[in-house]
Subunit: 211 residues, 2 copies
DNA sequence: CCGGAAGTTGCGCGACACGCATAATTTCGT
DNA sequence: ACGAAATTATGCGTGTCGCGCAACTTCCGG
């Protein structure tokens, strides 16, 4: 078993029962870690508790995650990466902002709004914020590819795709912080859309320059 | 003694000898930590080594930093925060991109280019990347204020200042990654400027909307 | 159905963050 | 300039933690 971060999503990629069980265990561990952290606070969560909650040995827990933070954030990172993948799957003709909206709607379809308490913890707890930010940057790669596919630019040579991708994830992060303000009642997707719209002129300007 | 993160820069702010010694110790510890990490690799740096290198007891080291990563990144975070402060000190009439250029030139005046090996370590080592990203987001606050001062918008109500601030720091981060590519020979400040220029249209669009 | 691969578990070690108590040092009022 | 108060440095002990190692168990392919 490897804890290779790159395999975390591709766990169900190839073989059958084995990989599925692995992913299930990882998700169970992450769910347990998040639940306990929300219940009793990050400080009062022992590794053994997480393992027990997920029904595995503490040693096995450490085979999947090398820190509580990683365990707690995994589900959210997974969700962000799903959005990134969904985005890359949208037709390249579709405008970026619209594609992002669809990708998010796809992810949050049916389900409720994202949990504010969880997000608040991710941001306020210093130990989690680092992992949270790392997770966000992990989406920038796929996002840059999606952007490159739309603009026809090469991410290796031209700065634009990666810069815009980073700007978009940053906008999403900023939107999240704004969404968490108690006065805000607008749905999450709408706030994100507004934030992204603020940097959309950069994308349009680049299109114009390219044409 | 507190390790309050908010006091890290303001250590020399008020009182005299006491605060200055404190800051000196903190910087010495950070320098030692960074130097050792570069020499023998992050894995082979014990806390005791850092403390010994800085001439303090291991316990004292832990009074200043609660993790190796924090210690290693402190100097860089400090530098980023200085740039943020310098930016906020620029005249509000000055265009944002230009002000950023001046603030960076002010920081890197005389000194050499930033160390590529160090930056590469910050990005490649997962343990450091989280702290590195946290440091970058810490600059977003001052940056947002500088932007708000230029646009006259209120960061509490309007998304724009914070979104643009986050986009700018993201652009700087992306520029850093591009700067680290072996083929790149352009000076750091130039790459950063190019990256920021790519998102500048968003700022101009907002100005236009406001006018 | 069997042999090897992959996953799980228990044990133990090295390291680390931090609370607490004590000594050393700086600051400040007079 | 001197002594009390506040701040800081240090030593020690404790509770965790991450992970290497070596069995043991489960799963997959032929």
């Amino acid at each position: 078993m490897t804890t290779d971060i790159g395999d975390q999503l591709g766990e169900a990629g190839r073989s059958g029962l084995r990989a599925r069980k692995k992913l299930a265990t990882r998700e169970a561990l992450s769910r347990a870690a998040l639940r306990l952290a929300l219940e009793r606070g990050l400080q009062n969560v022992r590794v053994d508790d997480i393992a027990a909650e997920a029904g595995v040995s503490p040693r096995t827990y450490n085979n999947y995650f090398s820190s509580r933070e990683e365990a707690i954030c995994f589900l959210s990172v997974q969700r962000a990466q799903r959005i990134g993948a969904a985005l890359r799957a949208r037709p390249p003709e579709e405008p970026l902002a619209e594609a992002i909206g669809h990708a998010m709607a796809e992810e949050y379809a049916g389900r409720s709004e994202p949990d504010k308490v969880t997000m608040r913890m991710f941001i306020s707890e210093p130990a989690l914020r680092g992992e949270y930010l790392k997770g966000l940057t992990a989406v920038e790669g796929p996002l840059a590819e999606a952007i490159a596919a739309r603009t026809g630019t090469d991410p290796e040579r031209d700065l634009f795709p990666r810069v815009l991708a980073a700007a978009v994830t940053s906008a999403a992060r900023t939107a999240t912080r704004h969404y968490l303000r108690t006065e805000t009642t607008a749905p999450f997707a709408a706030v994100v859309r507004d934030a992204i719209e603020l940097i959309a002129p950069a994308a349009r300007a680049h299109e114009g320059r390219r044409a």
